[in-house]
């Protein structure tokens, strides 16, 4: 297991380098010269040239990339063009909010999705099963930003149960977490159902029944444990979708998280901020995938990921 973890950690290094290269190259596609943009209108040619030299933009692109990676590894993502503060400082203020939102949403995704999936599988073809699967199908088709607006309309505007926007208290968290977690819950519900249905047809479940075990022990102790293995992968993948989805949810609920920071940075053409934000979110996702692989391996020792 230890060797596996070390090998898997080493495998993430080229992926991280690749991610940084893609982000770096995308920013090179930006039309116009960053030095001219930074120098502002009316700057002399000499000022622009000296700024270009200062920023290292007159060096070959490979040097610029290596320089960028070396700085990024030390947490230096440059300065925000809008606030002139270090990009990392701004991100670190916003990141905990986004992670809180993502964790609350993944809780909704896992708990709601699994409960619905188990009910569906244990009561296959019942009214409950059909209703859950219809809701799940709707769940993966609803745009999260629209669901968020509708939740605000019903629960905040009409019923006054939750605040319309903002972040900070538990009640602030509920609607955004449902908005962001609902799609994932639908996917997990479908996955849990099909996985459970496959497991309950296995011989050892029949043996457990023949032994006269109670149904809930069969389902929860023998069935669920094995049915969970493929669900873990889906949940791991959902975390990535959630991180991306925070962009929309934070915008709907006016939450000052990392996603909103990136969108605002795109609107104001604050490219170092976009670059830093996208890179950090992607690095978190890569490590999340690593954790999922390790968990997957832990729960299912029979498989060989290599």
């Amino acid at each position: 297991m230890f060797v596996f973890i070390i090998r898997r950690v080493l495998q993430t290094i080229p992926v991280l380098l690749g991610v940084s290269l893609v982000v770096f190259l995308i920013m090179q596609m930006v039309p116009g010269d960053p030095a001219t943009l930074l120098a502002g209108e009316g700057a002399t040619k000499e000022t622009i040239e000296s700024l270009r030299h200062e920023l290292g933009l007159d060096r070959p692109i490979l040097y610029q990339y290596v320089d960028y990676v070396l700085h990024a590894v030390q947490g230096d993502f440059g300065e925000s063009l809008r606030s002139s503060r270090p990009v990392l400082d701004e991100i670190m203020v916003r990141l905990p909010i986004t992670l809180e939102l993502a964790l609350a949403s993944i809780f909704i995704t896992v708990v709601l999705g699994m409960i619905a999936g188990i009910i569906s599988a244990t009561k296959q073809y019942s009214a409950a099963d059909i209703s859950i699967m219809i809701v799940a199908l709707l769940g993966i088709s609803l745009p999260s930003f629209w669901l968020g607006l509708m939740l605000i309309y019903f629960f905040s505007v009409n019923l006054h149960l939750f605040p319309v926007s903002g972040w900070g208290t538990f009640s602030h968290m509920i609607l955004p977490a449902i908005t962001l977690g609902a799609g994932g819950a639908a996917i997990v519900a479908r996955m849990t159902r099909s996985s459970m249905l496959e497991v309950v047809r296995q011989d050892y479940i029949r043996t457990a029944r023949a032994k006269g075990l109670k149904e809930y022990i069969i389902i929860y102790k023998h069935g669920l444990k094995n049915a969970l293995i493929p669900v873990i992968t889906v949940v791991g993948l959902q975390f990535g979708a959630l991180l991306g989805g925070t962009v929309l949810t934070e915008s709907v609920f006016a939450i000052n998280g990392l996603g909103r920071l990136i969108v605002d940075a795109i609107r104001t053409r604050d490219l170092p901020m976009v670059q830093g934000g996208v890179l950090i979110a992607s690095v978190i996702f890569v490590f999340m995938n690593l954790a999922v692989d390790v968990l997957y391996r832990y729960f299912n020792k029979r498989i060989d990921l290599n």
Partner: protein, 300 residues
């Protein structure tokens, strides 16, 4: 009567033996037709395609015509879905918006599929270092969470609907590349490919004529399901103000303008959301049905 039936069957068998492709598609159609839910999905998609084609004929009003006297009107006989903050008829805007959403979906998926298929075929067929390089690129593209890669691309290219198509297309490339590579690998190892190669066929002929047609099923399934994702992502980007710009009747942009009037005129945000959801639902269940009929092994 009995001998006649036998003769007919024999004739049919001879015909079918002559055309295995036809038999394959016939079997698919038979299987697909049995799946009522998938048929509903297909009808939903067809319905929206027809709406898009005939939007100018069936729209009650000009989708761009501003009428400030009648702004924020609730649904009525004159305006079935009410009017927006500029007095424009929401139904007409939704009908025209169908064209935009479907175009964005189809163009971006076609773009992503085209590049993804090329990469997947090259990786799966040639293997070795070509496979390693392509699949590492795919791994990197898959390492971006959700729509963040699309956001990064738009930040560089600038907000517009065309750039959304490019961004969402790039976001779809790795999925197609992975699926095509996997299918190509399994087809490449089959004996008939060795036989064709021994007959002197070039790599180009083998890939285009003998491998590609055999990996089409998973590609079609993936493309249908990706259409749903593409339409959702594009609407999301327009909702953030990074896609279609006003006064475009793009559904995501319409939803975005509706959020400012959630207290006074919730219908502005309601109808575009229903439109996006039903179209995406249509593609999802149609895609699920295609998957079950075309390639049951892919069923999760």
């Amino acid at each position: 009567m009995k001998p006649e039936v036998v003769i007919n069957n024999t004739e049919l068998n001879v015909k079918e033996r002559k055309s295995p492709k036809l038999r394959h598609w016939k079997a698919f159609y038979k299987k697909f037709k049995r799946n009522k839910l998938a048929l509903v999905g297909g009808y939903i998609v067809l319905f929206y395609i027809l709406l898009a084609i005939f939007a100018p004929l069936i729209s009650p009003q000009d989708p761009y015509e501003i009428d400030l006297v009648n702004k924020l009107q609730t649904p009525s006989a004159e305006h079935w879905m009410g009017t927006d903050d500029k007095g424009r008829d929401i139904l007409s805007r939704l009908l025209y918006g169908t064209r935009l959403s479907l175009t964005v979906g189809f163009v971006s998926v076609f773009f992503g599929a085209f590049i993804g298929i090329l990469l997947g075929l090259a990786a799966g067929y040639y293997g070795k270092w070509i496979d390693t390089v392509i699949m590492r690129i795919v791994d990197v593209l898959l390492a971006f969470p959700g729509i963040l890669l699309a956001l990064a691309i738009i930040s560089a290219l600038g907000p517009s609907l065309i750039n959304v198509m490019v961004a969402v297309g790039v976001f779809s490339i790795p999925m197609f590349a992975r699926i095509v590579r996997g299918s190509t690998l399994s087809v490449r190892k089959l004996e008939y490919i060795d036989a064709i190669r021994a007959l002197g066929a070039t790599d180009f002929t083998i890939i285009c004529k003998h491998i590609f047609p055999n990996i089409l099923s998973p590609v079609i399934v993936q493309a249908t399901l990706r259409l749903a994702t593409a339409i959702l992502s594009a609407a999301g980007l327009s909702f953030l103000g990074l896609g279609a710009q006003p006064p475009s009747p793009e559904w995501g942009a319409m939803l975005s303008s509706g959020r400012d009037y959630l207290f006074s005129a919730p219908h502005i945000a309601l109808f575009p959301g229903i439109a996006i959801s039903t179209l995406v639902l249509g593609f999802n269940i149609f895609g699920d049905g295609l998957r079950d009929a075309l390639d049951p092994r892919m069923k999760k």
